[in-house]
């Protein structure tokens, strides 16, 4: 069993209203040392099989389902193998 974390973020060029709103909220709390906030989501998945197969599966579910390439890109990290 392998634990993989898949990170999904908006592409650079896509406006992220949530990031803006949170940045403003942080500033209004007085933390002006915080310059920029970007928000992303991640998926922690547990996958069975050998590592090559796992990587393949992760790429496939990301590309088919988890990521919308009009807006988003992704990256993943193998967290641990067991």
């Amino acid at each position: 069993m392998t634990n993989v974390r898949i990170f999904v973020t908006y592409k650079e060029s896509v406006f992220d209203p949530q990031g803006e709103t949170i940045t403003e909220a942080i500033h209004s709390l007085g933390y002006h040392e915080v310059k920029q906030v970007h928000v992303g989501k991640f998926f922690d998945v547990e996958v069975e099989g050998n590592i090559e197969k796992v990587k393949e599966t992760v790429a496939q579910i990301s590309e088919q389902l988890l990521v919308n390439f009009n807006l988003e890109t992704y990256r993943y990290e193998i967290m641990e193998e067991a």
Partner: protein, 228 residues
């Protein structure tokens, strides 16, 4: 002309579309479950608003894997009419039948209100009953309605006249180019965030959506007659 209204798990404007077509327009319409694999016998298919699969992950992202989707895609490729409103529009973009994507409203909140729209193209099968450039009012009700596409796609949409409806007053959600509804290149697939099916009866205060359904029915009939 026979119209299918697809019901996905979590669709909730299915009855609104059905009633607009059946009770108000006296059209021949039937519900089709997402589990079906065929649209045989239908001439048009409509994807209703709602929260398919709870809008979990992204609006429309999971619904596009429904059993019925290959039939819808085939239908679109065959040049038959496909219409999606709200969640229906989101599903159509997720399925790649329409370009671009619908992201979270700039204000981050769900908005339900009536907005002013411009009919930017009245030459589509869905809009022939409107005047070119006419301003109409339709309700919106969504949290993820901010239309996004990259620059090249936007330019292409504009060049081809694929932008059918545009927000004409305030832009309620941050959609690029004020886009509220688009067609595919062939013009037989329309997706829009506003809800024309909520605006077909004077009792509910607005009839501006009625002509959209009448356009489809009329153009469907013309097509049928041409085929004979």
């Amino acid at each position: 002309m026979k119209i299918a209204v697809v019901v996905f798990p979590g669709s909730n404007c299915d009855i609104d579309l059905y009633e607009a077509l059946h009770t108000v327009c006296h059209a021949d319409v039937a519900y089709v479950s997402h589990t079906q694999k065929s649209l045989a016998g239908f001439d048009a298919v409509m994807l209703p608003g709602g929260f398919s699969y709870g809008d979990y992950l992204r609006s429309g992202a999971i619904a596009r894997f429904s059993n019925i989707m290959p039939a819808i895609i085939e239908f679109a490729q065959a040049g038959k009419f496909v219409f999606g409103t709200c969640n229906g529009f989101q599903i159509l973009t997720e399925a790649g039948l329409l370009p671009g994507a619908l992201k979270r409203n700039n204000g981050l909140k769900f908005i339900c209100k009536t907005v002013e729209l411009e009919v930017s193209n009245n030459q589509t099968a869905f809009t022939t009953q409107y005047q070119a450039g006419e301003h109409i009012s339709l309700p919106i009700a969504h949290a993820d309605g901010s239309y996004y596409a990259d620059k090249a796609t936007l330019e292409k949409l504009e060049r081809n006249g694929q932008v059918v409806f545009r927000y004409a007053g305030e832009n309620p959600n941050g959609s690029l180019n004020n886009i509220a509804g688009i067609t595919n290149e062939q013009g037989n697939v329309l997706g829009m965030m506003p809800h024309p099916e909520r605006a077909v009866e004077a009792l509910l205060g607005n009839e501006d959506g009625l002509r959209l359904f009448k356009s489809i029915l009329e153009n469907g009939k013309i097509k049928e007659e041409a085929a004979l």
